[in-house]
């Protein structure tokens, strides 16, 4: 199988999936993920995670950044769960 079935580790580096585009949509007041003939309107936390999937930051850095931004801790499990779901849907892939 391809990288789509690999396990996500703290040092895995996610990026937006091939053929997908993430952008802020003023009319919807939301981040959206655009892909061939479709669109997902993202909720706030999904948008925060995906905007950090830039192909250079590893998962642990993304978690740390989010925890700092929202002055909280213990987000790793939630972020990993989201990224697993996102990977299944090809929203993200891992370098």
């Amino acid at each position: 199988m391809t990288s789509t079935s690999m396990t996500i580790a703290a040092n895995s580096v996610p990026r937006i999936g091939h053929g997908f585009r993430l952008q802020w949509e003023e009319a919807q007041q939301a981040h959206v993920l655009l892909y061939p003939e479709g669109m997902v309107k993202l909720n706030g936390s999904a948008g925060e995670i995906l905007t950090r999937c830039n192909g250079t930051a590893p998962v642990e850095a993304i978690v740390a950044d989010l925890e700092q931004r929202f002055a909280t801790s213990g987000l790793e499990a939630d972020v990993l769960a989201f990224l697993r779901m996102a990977q299944e849907r090809r929203w993200v892939e891992f370098a």
Binding site: S5, H18, G19
Partner: protein, 383 residues
């Protein structure tokens, strides 16, 4: 209708058009027997100019449209396609090209890539040269395979579309194999919906129940085998359903279609509906068209419904189905879509489906009608 357009808009909280479908031209090198272009597409009407399209792209984007599909006919027939794609991409659209692949060569795809085109959907008519070429009345199978190779070579996700019907549904596994061979990421197996040319050729195209069940089972086996490698969409022919589809995800809800002459429609076949004026982008702004025109407001929401839709607990779920189908099969666009088994006209669908179970129905039917200008002019009717 009693409600004025503005009342509908304010009461229903109409959202922006998220999808702009730019049908650039009805010119097409293929002559497919299931084409969804209007039967009278060959009425002599001037296509919108490049400048008109550029203005439409800007106005729709300003309202919030974010997906843009360039289709037709064959959109590659427009030699300003690259200009339109570049502008759409610059405006922030995700740009989709829906093509037969005819006219796509190394030079053209390189220019489209440079213009920022995001995605290409390539249509096939069958897995075999014989059937593909017969159904499209052309010799195009090898050209399509070349187009598929170009699409992959230029780093595009490969979305393959094949319209499925009685004459090719038994080849469904070979069609899936072709998609695997071409390394497609997505495969749309879209059973024919019976509008326009497919409506004329319905006796030839509606599969039997058994064909459909076998095709679905085969598709599910391949889905399991392929896992996440390829995503397969299987669209059922709605004549086999007992509840209607939420057509276009709701009238004037998400989709804004502009046809080659600039007429704006809630869906590509809506112009067939009687007693309804649709605005043209040559004379109206996209904002006025979307929010204030009678054509877009008439069947928005649920206020227009008659019984049994009006009191149906599922009315919000499917919005009464398809207005064109209600018109074609029940002679009134405000009736329930006859696909629904609560519709007093559902018997029409039952009869058509029953007739399709008979073997060799093709032999008794009239000959297939290929989509071309000559037939279009002779038939001279909207569906």
């Amino acid at each position: 209708m009693s409600a004025a357009p503005n009342e509908v808009a304010s009461a229903g909280g109409v959202g922006p058009p998220l999808w702009l479908l730019a049908e650039l031209t009805y010119r097409c090198p293929l002559h497919c027997v299931f084409c969804y272009n209007p039967v009278d597409f060959a009425r002599d009407e001037a296509e919108l100019s490049t400048e008109d399209w550029l203005r439409v792209l800007g106005e729709a984007r300003a309202l919030g449209a974010v997906q843009c599909g360039f289709s037709g006919g064959e959109p590659l027939q427009r030699d300003d396609l690259e200009i339109l794609v570049a502008e759409a991409r610059r405006l922030g659209y995700y740009t989709n090209l829906l093509t037969s692949g005819i006219g796509l060569n190394e030079e053209r795809i390189a220019r489209l890539k440079q213009a920022g085109l995001d995605h290409i959907q390539l249509s096939f008519q069958d897995s075999t040269r014989e059937v593909n070429d017969f159904l499209s009345s052309t010799r195009t199978f090898d050209l399509k395979r070349k187009a598929a190779a170009l699409i992959k070579a230029h780093g595009y996700p490969m979305v393959m579309n094949c319209v499925i019907h009685r004459m090719n549904i038994d080849h469904i596994e070979r069609i899936i194999e072709l998609a695997v061979e071409l390394d497609a990421e997505y495969l749309e197996l879209a059973n024919t919906q019976f509008y326009s040319w497919a409506h004329i050729n319905r006796d030839h195209l509606l599969p039997t129940r058994e064909q459909l069940q076998q095709a679905e089972a085969a598709t599910n086996r391949w889905r399991e085998q392929l896992g996440t490698r390829m995503k397969i969409f299987f669209v059922v022919p709605d004549y086999y359903e007992t509840r209607p589809k939420k057509c276009m995800n709701g009238w004037g809800n998400v989709f804004l279609t502009i046809i080659p002459d600039g007429t704006a429609l809630p869906c590509h076949t809506a112009r067939m509906l009687p007693g309804l004026e649709f605005p043209n982008v040559r004379g109206s702004s996209v904002r006025d068209i979307w929010y204030s025109s009678e054509g877009f407001n008439r069947y928005r929401g649920t206020g227009w419904m008659k019984e049994p839709c009006r009191s149906c607990p599922e009315r919000e779920k499917d919005l009464g189905g398809c207005r064109c189908q209600a018109y074609m099969l029940a002679n009134d666009p405000a009736m329930a879509d006859p696909v629904c088994d609560k519709s007093p006209h559902h018997g029409v669908i039952v009869d058509i489906v029953e007739k399709a179970q008979a073997p060799r129905v093709e032999a008794e039917a009239r000959p297939l009608v290929f989509r071309n200008r000559k037939e279009s002019k002779e038939l001279a009717r909207p569906f």
